[in-house]
Amino acid sequence: AQSVAQPEDQVNVAEGNPLTVKCTYSVSGNPYLFWYVQYPNRGLQFLLKYITGDNLVKGSYGFEAEFNKSQTSFHLKKPSALVSDSALYFCAVRDPMNRDDKIIFGKGTRLHILP
């Protein structure tokens, strides 16, 4: 069964500094990987995905993520953080070997950007 781990409950970054939010996964085949962001009292919003191809994927709001198969990681990054990036970030994985399309979410990482 697939699983995803976000080892950090919270990440604090000063505005203008680069940020990284970590994610590792476990699947039986090649994973489909996703990052979502949740603002207060809102549903999750899709940021970016990795299905196949280039290991570095770019998404919304200047975010990017790098797929690393050997380390089974898919860390979310941004070169220069904004205060408005403060939110709850979820990594998610789908195992395409399972046809039930079950997308499993990590427990979330709260990102605080300090002005």
Binding site: Y36, L44, F46, K49, L88, F90, R94, D101, I103
Partner: protein, 115 residues
Amino acid sequence: DTAVSQTPKYLVTQMGNDKSIKCEQNLGHDTMYWYKQDSKKFLKIMFSYNNKELIINETVPNRFSPKSPDKAHLNLHINSLELGDSAVYFCASSQEVGGWYSPLHFGNGTRLTVT
């Protein structure tokens, strides 16, 4: 236009009552989901429907019964509500494209409080 809309946004009710949450998507997607987010922000899939057919049914009490009258609607009925049912319930939708599923589009959630 809201792509995935849920009603009501807030639902406060007493233990033992029966309540329903409605969800509609206007994206033309063929798959819809219910997720539960608890007080610690953990997000867990409950049900998934594809073209009105149940394809994922996680370990959820029988008191929860999804109903999909058509592929644009997925409602959640809950019988005999318990304190532990208090959570935010999210509806989501996606579309299968060439053997893989598009990212999930989430509604803004229904905050259920059972007293």
